[in-house]
């Protein structure tokens, strides 16, 4: 093949900024959500260096002190500074949310890809198993798993991740079915590309956006789930704080020390709200239907 042009049709082509990014930045709720999440992630990363007190050492002389200049958020039932515990707890809570979703995605997406792409009995098997897992209530599944693995934050993450996995299997499968029908996948097969390559280069990148959106939304659910497991004693383990476990303890002191529940409760509310807004925003930005 020689390098002479048969036809010339060069055209000036302005470099387009990613449409998704532009749309995301134009989406007010997404930006607000992103800002909230960023704020809390920052708090989780650098917060512990700002904490002025040891988050786990009790102080029997300052039990359940209301917020003051000394203790910005007050102290808890063992006299620990709530502000410091909140900062440390941010790590546990955000990690619980993010890591369990990562687990769910890492486990769920391959199954969904395989089921959706190959179809047939592989699909039937995976789909039925997914249905079955979905049929068992999320929390019960998580409780049983967490109880089996033993109560700890990492086990809670695994339990939440495993329980959330079927959602991603199903979502991925559905997306694969859509993407599989696209011309460019047929085109890839027409070239003779191997299935694995098509799955990785063609299907996966194109099914990922809705999965990421669902991911951010599930992070929110997972944070709540960690709080719920903490409520049942299966989440973050004492004396280390997570917002969920703090809230769980605080519920015994709702009257005597309302600040103990107000701060972690509000923090959970805000970050879950943040992740939800972010997820919604991403959905709008990545949704091809949205103009």
């Amino acid at each position: 093949m020689t390098a002479t042009a048969v036809v010339a049709d060069e055209a000036a082509l302005p470099k387009k900024r990613s449409r998704a990014l532009t749309k995301f930045l134009n989406n007010r709720s997404a930006v607000i959500g992103g800002a909230i999440v960023l704020f809390f992630v920052l708090a989780a990363v650098i917060g512990p260096y700002l904490a002025s007190y040891d988050p786990i050492k009790p102080s029997f002389t300052s039990i359940r002190k209301p917020p003051s200049e000394l203790f910005w958020f007050g102290t808890d039932e063992l006299g620990r500074d709530l502000f410091s515990r909140m900062l440390w707890g941010a790590r546990a809570s955000i990690m619980a949310g993010v890591i369990s979703v990562v687990i769910a995605i890492v486990l769920g997406v391959p199954f969904g890809l395989i089921a959706g792409y190959f179809g047939g009995w592989v699909d039937a098997t995976i789909s039925r198993a997914t249905d079955a897992m979905l049929a068992i209530p999320f929390l019960i599944f998580a409780i049983a798993l967490a109880a089996f693995l033993g109560p700890s934050l990492s086990n809670a993450m695994i339990a939440i991740g495993l329980s959330a996995m079927p959602i991603f299997v199903r979502l991925t499968r559905g997306q694969v079915l859509t993407v599989k029908a696209e011309d460019y996948v047929e085109g890839a097969r027409a070239i003779g590309l191997p299935d694995f390559w098509i799955l990785v280069r063609y299907i996966l990148p194109n099914v990922l956006p809705p999965i990421l959106v669902q991911g951010t939304l599930t992070v929110a659910t997972a944070i709540i789930a960690e709080a719920s497991l903490s409520f049942l004693g299966l989440g973050q383990q004492p004396p280390n704080p997570s917002w969920g476990s703090m809230l769980n303890t605080a519920k015994n002191f709702m009257e005597q020390a309302p600040w103990m529940s107000i701060f972690p409760g509000t923090a959970i509310f805000l970050i879950v709200l943040g992740f939800n807004l972010l997820g919604d925003g991403l959905r709008d930005a990545l949704d091809p239907r949205e103009q």
Binding site: M1, T4, V6, V7, D9, K15, K16, R19, D183
Partner: protein, 367 residues
């Protein structure tokens, strides 16, 4: 147009091809759609072969069957005389290099997450044609060949216009040095001005690389312009197969006649009363008995309802599936008279072409 194939050198052949959708087991839809139902045809080396028909006639399915992108329910596909249905995975991959496809929708046919360079390079990489610098060179060549700027290789499909994307698709189809390309409505999603560019491009490429083209389309003007032979499909069957000019000048099958009659003529001074085909295309899930066209055919008789007409040979090598084609021939309906352009238009078009060529010259000489 390329040299007319003077031989019967068949490069790709479909033998009694059938594709039925649905009706599998209890888990799938109970209705069977006979998308392609017993189609036989042979594509000659170096020709442009067109498959034409209205939506739902099975022409796209036929195109995919010929490439074994979908598995036929029955029949055989032979490439260079060899059945491609029994090929092993690696043999099939070799075949994929030689048989390529261009899709209708330039917005859907490119992976939005890959840049153009990677898209075009993929077949080169897959078939081990070049690597590293060589591969980049080849991609740049291909881009130039189809009229794209090689320095746009790092852009993503969404940054290109429809016509440019179709060029990308063509470059990719060319990347493996194919022998035959099937174009599935390659220009129907494009604007008229872009459509003309792509038609010209395809013709140039065909000449240059000695390709065989199979064009699946519904636009009869495009087909007349591009193709050597035409197969007209109706409800999963070929009703007429003929040299292009013969078909347009003297359509044999009543469906072909009606199809031609329905085309609006771009000449306001030649407005004429039209013989209109009545009714809708029946559902391919429940095709009419006998001749499938009998429900809409102005010449239908009792026998058409009962007997399915076979595709028979007409004297000049044409094929037609109609019980009464001999009687209908020359019944007045059908052949279209395209009036010559008005003198003013002809003059301006000539002027336009001249200036247009001058416009291209500086570019054509650049490397």
């Amino acid at each position: 147009m390329s040299v007319m194939p003077s031989n019967n050198d068949i490069i790709l052949e479909g033998v009694d091809l059938k594709k039925h959708f649905g009706g599998g087991g209890i888990f799938s839809s109970p209705t069977v759609v006979r998308a392609v139902d017993g189609v036989s045809l042979g594509v000659r080396r170096g020709e442009t072969f067109a498959i034409v028909g209205e939506s739902g006639c099975g022409k796209s399915t036929l195109g995919r069957l010929l490439l074994r992108l979908i598995e036929p329910t029955g029949g055989d596909v032979r490439y260079e005389g060899q059945s491609i249905l029994k090929l092993s995975k690696s043999e099939l991959r070799r075949l994929r290099r030689e048989l390529q496809i261009i899709f209708q929708d330039p917005f859907a046919s490119l992976n939005p997450r890959m840049n153009v360079g990677d898209i075009i390079a993929e077949p080169i990489w897959l078939h081990g044609l070049a690597s590293g610098e060589g591969k980049r060179e080849r991609v740049a060549d291909l881009m130039r060949i189809v009229g794209l700027l090689p320095n746009h290789a790092d852009r993503y499909p969404h940054e290109f216009s429809g016509g440019q994307r179709q060029r990308i698709g063509i470059a990719r189809a060319l990347a493996g040095d194919p022998k035959l390309i099937i174009g599935d409505e390659p220009v129907s999603a494009l604007d008229v001005s872009i459509q003309a560019q792509i038609i010209n491009l395809l013709e140039d490429l065909k000449d240059r690389f000695g390709l065989t083209l199979v064009i699946v389309a519904h636009d009869l003007a495009v087909i007349r312009h591009m193709s050597d032979r035409v197969a007209v499909m109706y409800l999963g069957e070929i009703v007429e197969l003929s040299e292009t000019d013969a078909l347009f000048d003297d359509p044999l099958h009543p469906y072909t006649q009606a199809l031609l009659a329905a085309i609006p003529v771009p000449s306001p001074s030649n407005r004429q009363p039209k013989a209109l085909l009545q009714g809708d295309v029946p559902s391919p899930a429940a095709p009419p008995s006998g001749c499938r066209f009998h429900t809409r055919c102005p010449h239908a008789r009792a026998v058409c309802k009962e007997q399915h007409p076979a595709l028979e040979q007409a004297p000049d090598g044409r094929q037609v599936a109609c019980h009464f084609w001999r009687e209908i021939q020359g019944a007045g309906a059908g052949s279209i008279s395209a009036p010559p352009p008005s003198p003013a238009l002809a003059k301006r078009l000539a002027l336009y072409r001249t200036w247009r060529e001058r416009q291209d010259k500086p570019v054509a000489t650049s490397p």
